[in-house]
């Protein structure tokens, strides 16, 4: 009796889903772009041609040339090197904040959906209120009251991510709860914790992963937008949004100051959206291709 394994269908691994995802090529392209960007950011020390903070008074506001591909800024710093180092902050904040939002939001969502009742009602109501507030303004307010720092940025963005993941995880858990294998688990006398996190969680992961890939884009966009407004990691640390801001303040002095970091942000956004769309098409057979 006790050695009967509870049936737990895991759908993410279905080969047809993989084939659907790769057919368009967008997912693969997005993944390659993101991996390359992560490598460049991780190896910034060796990849970047200059020290991002080194000032060269002889080379102020020079346009793109062979010595400085992306030109130099008002302090004579190499824009390319600053963009490469800035990737570290943007990607780090994006990944950590999203991860925190995913973990916390999913756990709360699964618990809420699994137990139902009063806890669920309260959590759902709170989620609805949080979601009704514009995410960007919420993040802005949080950083404004907490004060701009790396830790507070991650905290603020993670907080804005949590309600979205609660909603997704709760909805999927509600659907899963009706399935036979959950009843089978209960019949076998498994505890609630074991059912929730060993049996339900793996089965709702594909929806959480799709959401996470799209949220990664939102998190990075929020970080760079806040940095642009002046609520990012304080200078002189190079961040994409911060570099754009400096370039924007000198808009008439040189287009390269703001255009190159802008393109870097755009590249990440496109890559992440391609991944998100590819994953969604792969996990949802009804989605129009």
């Amino acid at each position: 009796m006790s050695d009967v394994a509870a049936p737990a269908p895991v759908s993410l691994a279905a080969p047809s889903a993989w084939r659907r995802a790769t057919r368009s090529g967008g997912l693969a392209l997005g993944l390659v772009l993101v991996v390359v960007l992560i490598l460049v950011a991780a190896l910034a020390k060796w990849v970047a041609p200059y020290d991002p903070d080194a000032q060269d008074v002889m080379m102020v506001l020079e346009g793109p040339a062979s010595a400085h591909w992306f030109g130099t800024d008002a302090f004579g710093r190499d824009v390319l090197s600053r963009v490469i180092w800035g990737a570290r902050i943007s990607l780090f904040v994006g990944f950590v904040a999203t991860l925190a939002g995913v973990v916390f939001g999913t756990v709360v969502g699964v618990i809420s959906g699994y137990y139902g009742g009063k806890i669920d009602k309260a959590i759902t109501a709170a989620t609805d209120v949080l979601l009704s507030f514009p995410q960007l303004i919420m993040g802005l307010m949080l950083v404004a009251v907490l004060g701009p720092s790396l830790r507070n940025l991650i905290l603020a963005i993670a907080i804005t991510a949590i309600p979205a993941f609660i909603r997704v995880a709760r909805g999927s858990t509600l659907a899963m709860k009706e399935r036979d294998f959950v009843d089978a688990c209960r019949a076998l006398g498994y505890g609630d914790l074991r059912i929730m996190f060993l049996h339900i969680l793996p089965n709702i992961m594909d929806e959480v992963v799709v959401m996470a890939s799209l949220w990664l884009a939102t998190a990075i966009r929020t970080e760079s937008t806040l940095a642009f407004i002046g609520l990012g990691v304080p200078p002189p640390t190079a961040t994409w949004g911060g570099i754009v801001r400096e370039g924007f303040d000198n808009l008439l002095d040189g287009w390269w100051l703001s255009v190159f970091p802008s393109l870097a942000i755009l590249l990440v956004m496109i890559a992440l959206n391609l991944i998100g769309d590819g994953l969604r098409d792969a996990t949802d057979p009804r989605a129009p291709q």
Binding site: S132, L140, M141, S224, N273
Partner: protein, 313 residues
């Protein structure tokens, strides 16, 4: 219809209360002593005590909450810590600019997004479809400040078609309109992307429905079948998506105003941040909360217009 409106308005009250409570909590999670944050650590204890009293921070929390709610019910957002002007006056002065921008972006989103989505769905994998897909991917990918700066560099700095420094305040309506074009397109781009996407997928689904076959069996030309019979049904998901992304739109309106240096809520937020004017910040959050609640009500009322099942149910 009137009962539907009344019911919807009644439903908004608890939401508004919850969102206002959220604002109250948010502004009070400032770590440390808010008077030090505002005045700096050089301030004298007397000045800090005076500020504390002015902010009502000497009162117990529940009483602060009560005062906060009562004030808002009277349409009073308090006074700025810096200028001591009533916040409602400052907000009222710039609100029309933000509304103007948001509405223009919405119109652009619908006027471009809907036809693009319809054309994409009619010829799957055709030219319009590819264009729509690339366009919507770009629209979803561009952070508002990035697209704004690129538009500014391209059309204002290089081509000089539009002013670099916003002339939204100009009394000449043509000049005001000219100042609106770039920001509205910048903000509208995002809406175009969302609307194109939902229109395309909605039309693909609708064109396969039985009632489309019925319409064709009546001998209606393809044009009427598509634009009347199919699109009328797709209006429902389109309204849903617009309602869902109004929050995103409002957030991006703030960013767009900063990039284009337009008067509006965005610039006021930056002022509040730079001057550590927490009273102004709180007031602006309350205004955003109201904006969201109003936007949601308008969305639901629009449902009543596009879906007969809502108002007669």
């Amino acid at each position: 219809m009137l009962r539907f409106v009344a019911k919807r308005l009644a439903l908004a009250v608890p939401t508004l209360w919850a969102v206002l409570t959220l604002v109250f909590v948010l502004v009070r999670i400032v770590p440390g002593d808010p008077t030090i944050v505002i005045l700096g650590d050089q301030a004298s204890p007397a000045a800090r005590a005076a500020l504390r009293e002015r902010l009502g921070l000497d009162q117990p929390l529940w009483s602060q909450y009560w005062d906060f709610m009562v004030q808002i019910l009277h349409g009073d957002l308090g006074r700025s810590l810096v200028t001591n002007r009533p916040i409602i006056t400052d907000v009222g002065a710039v609100l029309p600019f933000t509304i103007e921008l948001t509405v223009a972006a919405l119109v652009i989103g619908v006027v471009i997004g809907v036809p693009l989505g319809v054309m994409a769905a009619r010829r799957r994998d055709g030219f319009a479809d590819w264009f729509a897909r690339i366009f919507s991917l770009a629209g979803l990918s561009f952070p508002a400040f990035v697209s704004g700066i690129l538009l500014l560099i391209c059309f204002a700095v290089q081509l000089r078609w539009f002013p670099v420094i916003s002339t939204a305040n100009a009394s000449d309506p043509m000049e005001r309109l000219r100042a609106l074009v770039l920001p509205a397109f910048n903000l509208g781009l995002i809406m175009v992307a969302y609307v194109t996407r939902v229109t395309r997928s909605g039309m693909l689904k609708a064109l396969g429905e039985d009632y489309i076959r019925t319409a064709r069996a009546k001998g209606l030309p393809q044009r009427i079948v598509v634009w009347r019979h199919a699109l009328r049904n797709v209006l429902i998901p389109i309204v849903t998506v617009i309602g869902l992304y109004l929050g995103v739109l409002i957030g991006n309106a703030v960013v767009t105003e900063i990039v284009f240096n337009r008067p509006g809520l965005g610039k006021l937020i930056v002022t509040a941040l730079n001057q550590r004017d927490y009273a102004l910040l709180q007031g602006l959050m309350v205004v955003s909360a109201f904006a969201i609640v109003v936007a949601n009500i308008l969305t639901d009322l629009t449902y009543g217009l596009v879906d007969p099942r809502v108002k007669t149910a």
